[in-house]
Each structure stands twice: as structure tokens, then as C-alpha cells.
Amino acid sequence: MGGVKNVILQGEKITRIFCQGKVEIKVLDEIDIKIFEKDFTVIMGPSGAGKSTLLYMLGGMDHISEGHVFYRDKEISSFAESRMGRLRAEEFGFVFQQTHLVSNLTLLENILVAGYVSKKDSAEKVRERAENLLRQMDVEEAKNRLPYQVSGGEAQRAAIARAMIGTPGLLFADEPTGALNQANTREVLNLLSDLNRKGQSILMVTHDLRAAARGNRILYLEDGKICDELALKPYNEMEEKQRERDVSQWLSGLRW
């Protein structure tokens, strides 16, 4: 990751206020953030810190109360619904904790629909790419099954394949291993690391130390503000234990 990094996504003074009756709760407080191209950026923080909220603000999945978000220097926070939809289809990929596959579509169809919506390639190419992704994610066997017929790991890998079908500029992942067992968690994290190694920019929210250790840049969010940041070398399996210790030590310093 040497040289000057390009900013792919930038947030300026992002504020999010939720109203509960007459009470206003400021979840994000004027956050300035930059996400760099080809980075595996991780946002950590205690529960309720606003990690997912920040992720969805940056991904245009939710409206921001104040501030601006720029994707490749274009302000996307002012995009109309239809333009935002195009951006999500062409440039962003999302992976959620609960997988969120459409339950009456097979794994393959879930991926195909996303590919068709992105309209980047012909239907044949989308299908070819979907098959490749399923193979790459090791869920080819289960491709014709409905989401409830596969394991959580398989579903999440299919969800990653769906997020990747449109060759997104940035992959957003919200606790992608939160609902998985240990074996499946490792599989999913390996996939994300592989993708990043191949140049995929990733922005992931997690409170799992081992998941965070996959990133090369970790931001710590607390009380609606980014309190600290840890820079790591790109992920290397051989150094995994050391990375986890470094992250753990850093988090201890933040009283996590």
C-alpha cells in the first residue's frame, strides 16, 4: 500500500440526530472521515457508538442530518433517490450481518438480480460472472437453493458474491460475521481479505477483534466521534496472531 492513496469516500462533519418524541439524540457528531482506495478500513467501537449508522450514512443508505459525503469527489449526500439507486447498483456493494438475501430467490438468482440491476454487462456475462463468484466463494453446490435451505456461512458468502457482482468501487460490510459460527466467520473473513488483496476497497463495521485485524486501517468510534485510528500493514495470514495482539493492545488503550 505504498505511495499516495486516493480518497474514494469522504465524509465531512457528518451528523445524525434521531428524534424520540421531543428528545433529540445525536448519534454522530460532526464526523470527518476519509476512506482510501484499495484499503480495508474497519470501524470499531462499543455497542451503540453509531458504527452501523456511520456506515449507512457513508453508503447513502440513510439520510444524514448535517454534513456532506463525497464519493470520488462527487457529493452523494445531495443525490436524489434515483441517482442514489444507480450509485448503489454501479459503485457500492453491501454485506449485512443478517445476510438479507431475498428469500424467494435462489442464491444464484439473488446474485443475478443484483448483476442485472447494475447493467454493467450483458445478461450472459452477468451469469458467467455470478457462476465464477459462486465458485470463488465456494457455494457453487448450493447455488440453486433458497436462502433458508443453506447454512449461515453459505448464505453470507452468497451475500458477498451478490455485493461483488457489480464490481463495486467500495464494499460496505456491516458486521458480516456477527451471526456466524467460528468456522464460517473464518471463511467469510478469508474471502474479504482475498478480495482486498485483489484491490477491492472495503469498509467494514465490526466489534470482533479477529475481524478487525483483517483491516489495514482501524477507526475507533465512541460517543458519535472518531476517537482514534490504528494503521496496520496489509493482511498476511502468517502474522495473524501478532496483528490480533496489536489490535487488542490498541483497544485496551481505548478502554474497550
Binding site: 443508505m61 440513510d62 448503489r88 447498483a89 430467490l105 444464484l108 438480480v113 440491476v117 452477468v126 447455488k143
Partner: protein, 823 residues
């Protein structure tokens, strides 16, 4: 107490669905009660008024009676006759607003003391607005005339308009100004061609003297109605038979009708429309029950977990079912009660709207027993439906409910049970898997393992909609069924409308014994050839025949005979036409009245003699409520006197568009000496406009139904699919695409319903409508089959569902994607 708390909470939570059910039941109850009130009030009012006004069990119309006292006495002497009263009148053609009458009008003097009957108490008068009664005028002016409100629909007659009566040749016409409207319970309906006109006694006397002075040149005739009361135990048909053999009466009688027949004519239109409305109300009831069933299923699915929790704290399945049932019954009950109450107001309004068609202002009475019957039936049906839909609550154990086993099993808020079936040891398996295994369908074409059509890039929106419909069939079944029912009824009505045609040709064909373009009856001494030359100067005559309609008695009872020079023109439905001199054809109704069949003999008497005729076949003609017969000219002349004035020349023109100009020319040249008519009559306009009103109303109610059904089913679907919508948005699907896809689902299911409804209409319209039309004597209903009548209702209902679903799906725009957030 605890039940009440849960019921209250449930009603609060499901207020949208319950409100929808209440509205559907309100509309259904409103329709049913309006039909009942209008039909019951109309039928009873007409009979009461006829009795009050002194019209007898039988009425004979007579003309040129030299000694009325002698005639009355001879009638009174008949066995079974209790009394006979005369009401004097003058028969005359009339013309107003450029429209000529198609049958003679009857000018009735408004006098205080006739022979036993005072016309002053006989008739009610209307305000000019026709919305209520007015005080009877002190006197009717010599230049004034009062007409039936149906003249407004038939000839567009309004107070101040002029009616011209040709009293005698040589231009001796009488022009009277319409002073107002009166209620004629005897001939007021627009379905009755002969019309009464109330004139002053002085005017009546003046006309009589003109008739006497004119001698042979008189066009109007001195006539009377003799109202005959029969003794108890004597049937009207027996009496009719006796009177037609009474020599003095039969000499002067033009026609005799029973009170029953007259009342039937008076309410024929109202009864026909009541039958149509009643059928529509039944369709609405079916639709309302389907929606209620769907709504209950949705509620059970939504509340499955809560039911489980309530079961763990001691509630039984029956109690839970009872609580849900109470919520629905409260909605149904309030809707039905409100519908009943409002029906009184609506019925009154309808009565006022119909006054120009029925000729009478029907009072709205509340038929307690039938209306209570409707209330009880609606409540029982609804309760039965609830019990049927809620029965499954009792069969599930509390833990199974909480675990969401079997019914209501959900994942991400989606019901998957509809997609599963039980497969022994393997438990529930995907229906699609099972289907795939059974059919061994290629994965490429069948959705990669789902057994459903594949999702394709081209038409992605449609394919997604189709998949949602196929995987969630139960959710859309109510929309499909309701669409089917509405389309069926709309198609049925549309096909009746097509049969009527723009100019009412369908109905005219039903009433005419044979087709025609133009009919000319020569009343004066004009040679028919000369009149034909006038016709030929406008357009060629492609074909012609002559028709007369004298009165004859068949086996002793009077009927109208359609006597034709070319019997092959009769519309024959069974057997063959009456080509031979000793053959007749009967309508289906007359054959049933006489209990006679083709091949049997009947005795027919004319004004010259009588003899036996063989029934050669059955034909269609709805005149006289369908009770008439057809004869050849030769056949009739063997029992009846010939008279040139009997015959009407019916022409087929090479250029029928010249009919109007030709009619005007003939009237200009021959004045009152000819009577020209087309294949139409003024009352038809009223029927056609009433039909259009019905269709307009029907589509209006259908719009409300579609709106409610889409709203109820769609809102629930949108609620359960919040996450799916979020997912689709997260992968870049635009709101517009998702809206369209949602709307397409309803479009698809309603299209399926529309196809079923259209096919049902094609298959059953004629059977159903024929049975209703037979009440009006029309036995040959064959619905119209234009592409419009076939496709329009289905397309309309489908687009309505599509449109309302699209509007409802506007909620997708507001959908919050936080539904996908893990935190």
C-alpha cells in the same frame, strides 16, 4: 374483562383492515337493502294505487260505444262480475318536440263526478321538479294538459311545451300546453306505450264535438276504459274468457288487460334493474367475504406469536378465535347497520331519480322482515366465514405456535409455509423442489431450482413481480377472486348493454316480431303505391312486407296477433314458421300460459269467426309481456275482417340513413293520414340511459372495491416485505422499479381473475340474463360479442388494480433502509 381488553387492543392494531371490511359490508348491505326497499315498495305501491284509484281487476279499452249504459249493464250481468265502472277518454295520436307518438294517447277528462269515479281523487300531481307531490290544481285550463313524468324521458316534455293532437283531417289539430305532471299508476311507466293526458272537462267536450262534426274525417276516437271488478273466487283469466265471449263488449273492445298485467308493465323496468342490482349485490357479498377471509388469514399470520403467548398464559384456541371473530363481527355489524340505515335515504333518492322512467314517485317503505333477513344472513355468513378461517387456531399447541411451526412459519417476516408441503420423515420440503422432482424441469428455464420461471435480465421488473406472485399466491388470491367477480359482473352488464345497442336495436328486435328499417301505416285513403313512390324517391326499397296487430282470442283469452304477409320473417326459436293457412306460431310465454306445444291445436277467434289452428312453432316477440301469437295473412283473414288501416308497410331500405328525412317527408305530404315509425320507441331512450347509469354506478362501486382490496392486501404485503424492499434498494433497485414491480403483481393476479371473469361471462351471461329477461317477456336474449364488451371490463379492472397498487406502493419511497441495520 381480559377478553374485552384483547379485543380492544386488536381492533386498535388492525383498525385499517377492520375499517376496510366495514366499508365493504356497508356497500353490500346498502345495495341489498336498496334493492329490497325499491322492489318491495314499488310493487306494493302500484297495486295499492291501482286499487285506491278504482282500476278494476280487468280493464277493457273500448271505442265508439253507442250506448255505454247498455254495455255496462251487459257486463254487470255476467256471472262473476261484481261491478263495472267507466272512465271516459279520447284516443288520439299526438306529437311534441318533433317526436310523433308510436301509439294512441288517451285524453282523460279531469272531472269531479263521472259514473261512480271521481278523477279528482284518482290522480296525484307533482311539483315541476318531480321530487315531491303538489296540490291538485283547482281547475285545468282549456289550453292545458297534464302529462306523466315518463313523457319527460320519452319526449323530453316539460311544462310550457306544446303537445299537438290531430283530432280530424283538414288540419283540425288541438294544441295544448303542458301545465305540469301527474302520477298515473296505470299507464305512467315509460315501458307502456299508451299514455294518458289529463285535460279539462271543457276541452274533452270540445274534442268530442269536433269528432262528431268531422264524421269520417275524424282521426281521434271517442273511447273509454271500463274497469271491471270480479267476484271472489273467480280468476282473472276465467273472467277474461267470459268477457271476450260477451257479444256487446267484444264488439267494441280494443284490448283487455288484467290489473296484474298492467302492474307488471308498470314495474317491469324496476324489477329488471332490481334483479341486476341484486345480482351485483351478491357479487359484492362474495367479494367482501373473500376479502374478509384473506384479511383474517393475514391477521392470524401477523399475530401468530402473540396468539402463542396468549395460549401459554391460559387462553384457549376457541377464546382466541372468539376474540378475533368479535373484532370482525363488530366491523361487519357496524357496516351492515349503517348500510341499512343509509339505504332508506338512497332508496328515496333513487325513487326520485326514477320518476321519469317509472312515472310514479315510489314511497320508500322499510320492509322489516326482508331487511332483517338480509341483516341476519350477512351476519351469519360473516360469522361462519370467521369460524372457518379461525378454526386452525385451536389445533396448534402453544409451543408450536411460539416456535412458528407449520402455520405462519416465517423468515425475515415472510411466510414460507405456503411454499412447503409435508413429506413424511423429511418434514416440510419446498413445494418447488417437489415440483422440480416431479416434472424434472430444466433448471435453465425454471428458475434455477425453484420450479418457477427464471429471473431474466430482460423484463427484470416483471420477472421479479411474477416470482413474488408465484411464491406468495395466498396473499394475492383475494385480489384475483375479487377481480374475477367484478369482471364477471361488469362483463355481464356490458354484454346486456351491447345487446341493447346504441339505439336500443336489441330490445326493439326482441319486441318486434320481424325486422324492419321503416314502418308506414296508412290511416287515410291513400293508395299504398303512391306512398311507396315517395319512399322510392329517397332510397330504393330492398324488401318489404306487411304487418297487422289485431286482437284475437286464443282458447277464449284475448291476445294480440302479429299477422304478417311473409311468415318466414318471424324470429323462430323452435319448430317452423306458420306458412300454411291453418298454422300459427306462439311465443314461449303464451305456449306456457296455454300449456300448449308445437303440433297441438288451438281455437282462435277473430272478428269474423273462429277455427282451429295448428301450432307450427315457437317464435320471439316480447310485446304484451311476451304473450302474443304470429299468423300468416291468409290465416288471419280466415277468421278476421280485412281493413286497409290494419296494415303497416314495413320496408328495408338500401340507404337506411335516409330514414329521418323520409319520415319528415311522409309526414309533410300526408300529415295525420300516415303513421311512420322506425325500429324504435321513445321509452327506449329511458331504458338505455338507465342502463348507462347502472354501468356507470357499477364501475364506481368496482373502483371502491378494488381500492379497498388493493389497500388491504397491499398494505399487509408491503409490511411483511419491508426487508426485501430494503435489500432490493441496497443492491440499487430504484424506487420506481420496485413500485412498478409491486403494481405488476396486482396487475398479474387481477389479469388472471379478469380472464376467469370474462370466460365466466361468456359462458353464463346468456343463461343468467335470459332468466331475468323472461320476466319482461324477452326469451331470445343473446348477448353482444363485440371486442369491447369482451375486453373492456377485464382491462379496466386489471388497470384499476395496477393503478391502485402503484399508488399504494408510493410507501416504498418512504421505506427506511434502517430495517437492514444490525444494531
Amino acid at each position: 374483562m381480559e377478553n374485552l381488553m384483547i379485543i380492544r387492543a386488536g381492533m386498535k392494531r388492525h383498525k385499517g383492515s377492520l375499517f376496510g371490511i366495514a366499508i365493504l359490508m356497508f356497500l353490500t348491505a346498502l345495495f341489498l337493502n336498496v334493492v329490497l326497499m325499491t322492489a318491495f315498495s314499488g310493487n306494493s305501491y302500484i297495486r295499492e294505487e291501482m286499487e285506491r284509484a278504482g282500476f278494476g281487476d280487468l280493464t277493457a279499452w273500448t271505442a265508439d260505444v253507442p250506448d255505454m249504459e247498455f254495455l255496462l249493464e251487459s257486463i254487470r250481468e255476467q256471472e262473476g262480475v261484481e261491478d263495472a265502472k267507466v272512465q271516459r277518454l279520447i284516443f288520439s295520436e299526438y306529437e311534441a318536440n318533433g317526436v310523433e307518438s308510436d301509439s294512441e294517447g288517451q285524453m282523460i277528462p279531469w272531472i269531479s263526478a263521472e259514473i261512480g269515479i271521481s278523477t279528482r281523487s284518482r290522480y296525484h300531481f307533482f311539483e315541476n321538479s318531480l321530487s315531491e307531490y303538489a296540490k291538485a290544481p283547482k281547475e285545468i285550463g282549456e289550453q292545458e294538459v297534464y302529462v306523466s313524468p315518463s313523457m319527460k324521458s320519452m319526449m323530453d316534455l316539460e311544462p310550457g311545451d306544446i303537445i299537438t293532437f290531430p283530432i280530424a283531417r283538414g288540419g283540425r289539430n288541438l294544441s295544448l300546453t303542458v301545465a305540469g305532471y301527474y302520477e298515473d299508476p296505470f299507464m305512467g311507466s315509460s315501458m307502456i306505450g299508451m299514455k294518458g293526458f289529463l285535460v279539462s272537462e271543457k276541452t274533452y267536450e270540445k274534442i268530442l264535438s269536433v269528432i262528431e262534426d268531422s264524421g269520417m274525417d275524424a282521426l281521434a276516437r271517442n273511447g273509454s276504459m271500463i274497469h271491471i271488478e270480479t267476484a271472489e273466487g273467480i280468476t282473472v283469466s276465467e273472467m277474461n274468457r267470459v268477457l271476450t265471449t260477451n257479444k256487446p263488449l267484444s264488439m267494441y273492445t280494443e284490448f283487455i288487460h288484467s290489473a296484474e298485467t298492467i302492474a307488471g308493465f308498470m314495474v317491469i323496468l324496476q324489477n329488471a334493474f332490481s334483479a341486476l342490482f341484486a345480482a351485483f349485490a351478491v357479487v359484492l357479498l362474495g367479494a367482501a367475504l373473500v376479502v374478509m377471509g384473506h384479511s383474517i388469514s393475514g391477521l392470524v399470520e401477523q399475530e401468530w406469536k402473540n396468539f402463542g403467548i396468549l395460549k401459554t398464559i391460559g387462553f384457549t384456541g376457541k377464546q382466541l378465535a372468539g376474540q378475533v371473530m368479535m373484532q370482525y363481527m363488530a366491523a361487519v355489524g357496524s357496516g351492515v347497520m349503517l348500510g341499512m340505515l343509509l339505504a332508506v335515504l338512497i332508496s328515496g333518492q333513487i325513487s326520485r331519480m326514477m320518476v321519469t322512467t317509472t312515472g310514479v314517485l315510489l314511497p320508500i317503505r322499510f320492509p322489516l322482515l326482508p331487511c332483517m333477513g338480509v341483516l341476519i344472513i350477512l351476519l351469519l355468513l360473516s360469522a361462519g366465514f370467521c369460524v372457518l378461517c379461525l378454526g386452525r387456531l385451536g389445533r396448534i399447541s402453544p409451543m408450536a405456535v411460539i416456535r412458528r411451526e407449520c402455520e405462519g412459519q416465517t423468515e425475515c417476516g415472510r411466510n414460507l409455509c405456503g411454499n412447503k408441503r409435508w413429506n413424511g420423515k423429511r418434514g416440510f420440503i419446498q413445494r418447488a423442489d417437489a415440483r422440480m422432482r416431479r416434472k424434472k424441469v430444466s433448471a435453465k428455464h425454471m428458475g434455477y431450482g425453484t420450479g418457477f420461471p427464471a429471473i431474466r435480465a430482460k423484463g427484470l421488473t416483471f420477472h421479479l413481480a411474477l416470482r413474488q406472485v408465484l411464491t406468495g399466491r395466498k396473499r394475492y388470491i383475494s385480489a384475483c377472486l375479487v377481480a374475477g367477480m367484478l369482471v364477471f359482473f361488469a362483463s355481464l352488464t356490458g354484454r346486456i348493454n351491447d345487446w341493447l345497442g346504441v339505439d336500443g336495436k336489441g330490445m326493439m328486435d326482441a319486441f318486434n316480431p320481424a325486422d324492419l328499417d321503416l314502418g308506414v301505416q296508412v290511416l287515410g285513403k291513400i293508395p299504398a303505391q303512391e306512398m311507396e313512390q315517395v319512399v322510392l324517391s329517397y332510397t330504393d326499397i330492398t324488401d318489404s312486407y306487411m304487418l297487422a296487430m289485431p286482437s284475437v282470442s286464443v282458447n277464449g283469452t284475448n291476445y294480440t296477433a302479429n299477422v304478417i304477409t311473409e311468415p318466414e320473417r318471424f324470429h323462430i326459436s323452435a319448430g317452423k314458421t306458420c306458412r300454411e293457412k291453418n298454422e300459427v306460431v306462439l311465443t314461449e310465454m303464451l305456449a306456457a300460459d296455454l300449456g300448449a306445444e308445437a303440433g297441438e291445436l288451438v281455437t282462435i277467434r277473430g272478428n269474423k269467426g273462429s277455427r282451429e289452428f295448428r301450432i307450427s312453432g315457437i317464435y320471439h316477440c316480447a310485446n304484451d309481456m311476451g304473450a302474443n301469437l304470429g299468423m300468416s295473412r291468409e290465416g288471419y283473414l280466415s277468421i278476421g275482417e280485412d281493413d286497409s288501416r290494419l296494415w303497416c308497410y314495413h320496408y328495408f331500405l338500401s340507404d337506411p340513413s335516409r330514414k329521418q328525412a323520409l319520415t319528415e317527408k311522409l309526414e309533410q305530404v300526408y300529415g295525420g293520414d300516415v303513421y311512420v315509425h322506425e325500429n324504435s320507441w321513445p321509452g327506449l331512450l329511458g331504458i338505455i340511459s338507465a342502463m348507462h347509469l347502472l354501468i356507470f354506478f357499477l364501475y364506481g362501486v368496482s373502483v371502491i372495491f378494488v381500492c379497498i382490496v388493493t389497500g388491504m392486501a397491499g398494505a399487509r404485503i408491503l409490511d411483511t416485505e419491508r426487508k426485501d424492499i430494503g435489500i432490493y434498494k441496497s443492491i440499487g433497485c430504484s424506487v420506481e422499479m420496485l413500485r412498478l414491480s409491486f403494481a405488476l403483481r396486482f396487475g398479474l393476479v387481477s389479469a388472471v381473475g379478469a380472464v376467469i371473469g370474462t370466460l365466466a361471462a361468456v359462458g353464463f351471461t346468456d343463461v343468467i340474463v335470459s332468466s331475468v329477461m323472461q320476466l319482461a317477456g324477452i326469451s331470445n336474449f343473446a348477448s353482444g360479442n363485440t371486442p369491447g364488451s369482451i375486453l373492456f371490463p377485464g382491462l379496466t379492472v386489471t388497470f384499476l388494480f395496477l393503478g391502485f397498487a402503484w399508488l399504494l406502493a408510493g410507501r416504498i419511497r418512504k421505506g427506511d433502509m434502517n430495517v437492514l441495520t444490525a444494531e
